[in-house]
C-alpha cells in the first residue's frame, strides 16, 4: 500500500513538473522544472529497485544536463527572459497529437497481456551491471566511450567555430 502512495506521489511530481516545464513561459523556470522532473524520475528508478540507475540519473541528468541547459539558456539569452519560452503555431496541433499518442499508447498498454515474472530483484545490482558491462556488452561499452569522446571534441569544435585557414 505504501508503495502505491510513493508511486503516486512520484508520478504526480514527474508529470506535474514535466507539464510545468512545457507550459512555463520563462526558459529559466523551465530548466528548473526539468531538473525537478529528473529527480522524480530518479525516485521512480529507486521504486523499481534500480539504485545504480537512480544515482546515475541524479549525476548525469540533474548534475550535468540540467546545468548544461542553463548554460545554453544563458549563452543564447536575448530580449525579455519572461517571454523567452513561448509556443509556436503548432500549439494546438502538437497538443492534440500528443494527446492522441497518449490515448493510443494507453489503450495498447491495457489491451496487451504481459508475461510477468515472479523472481525477486537481486540485492546488489551494481556488481551485476558491472559484470554485464565488462563481459557481454564490452564492445558497446567501449563504443559508448568513443561516442562520448567524439561528442566532446565535436561539441567544442562546433561551439567554438573553426578558423578559416586556407
Amino acid at each position: 500500500m505504501s508503495q502505491a502512495i510513493v508511486f503516486g506521489v512520484l508520478a504526480a511530481i514527474v508529470l506535474g513538473f514535466g507539464l510545468a516545464m512545457v507550459l512555463s513561459k520563462n526558459l529559466v523556470h523551465s530548466a528548473i522544472y526539468m531538473a525537478v522532473t529528473f529527480i522524480g524520475v530518479a525516485g521512480i528508478y529507486l521504486n523499481l529497485s534500480a539504485g545504480f540507475l537512480a544515482a546515475m540519473q541524479i549525476l548525469v541528468y540533474v548534475g550535468a544536463i540540467s546545468v548544461l541547459m542553463v548554460f545554453g539558456v544563458m549563452l543564447t539569452r536575448r530580449g525579455d527572459i519572461a517571454a523567452s519560452n513561448i509556443f509556436n503555431r503548432y500549439k494546438l496541433t502538437g497538443g492534440l497529437m500528443a494527446l492522441a499518442l497518449f490515448v493510443i499508447l494507453g489503450r495498447l498498454i491495457f489491451t496487451s497481456s504481459w508475461n510477468l515474472s515472479s523472481f525477486a530483484v537481486p540485492e546488489d545490482t551494481v556488481s551485476l551491471i558491472a559484470d554485464l558491462m565488462m563481459t557481454d556488452f564490452v564492445i558497446p561499452f567501449e563504443t559508448a566511450a568513443l561516442l562520448l569522446l567524439v561528442a566532446l571534441v565535436g561539441a567544442i569544435m562546433v561551439a567554438k567555430g573553426v578558423k578559416n585557414t586556407r
Partner: protein, 102 residues
Amino acid sequence: MITLEHYLLLAAALFSIGLFGAVAKKNAVAVLMGIELMLNSVNINLVAFNRFLMPSQLVGHVFAVFVIVVAAAEVAIGLAIVISIYRDKFSTEVDNLDWLKW
C-alpha cells in the same frame, strides 16, 4: 498493487508531454528539453520491463545506461549547434532555421 501497466502509463504520459514540448515550443533549447523528457520516459520503460519481466538479468539497466550516455552526448552537441547558430543568426527560434527549404 502497483504493477507494470502503471509504470508504462506514466512513461507514455511523460513521452507525450515531451513530444508536445519538442513540437510546440519556439526556442531551440526548449525543444532539446522536450527531447530529454522523451528519452527519460524510454528509460522508465526499459527499467520497468526489466523489473517486471526478467528481474534476475539486468539487461534493461545496461540499456538505460547506454541511453543516458547517448542523451548526454546529444545534449552536448545539440547545445553546441544552438550556440553556433545563435552566433550566426542572433536567434534560437527553430522557425528561423528553415534553410532546408528550396
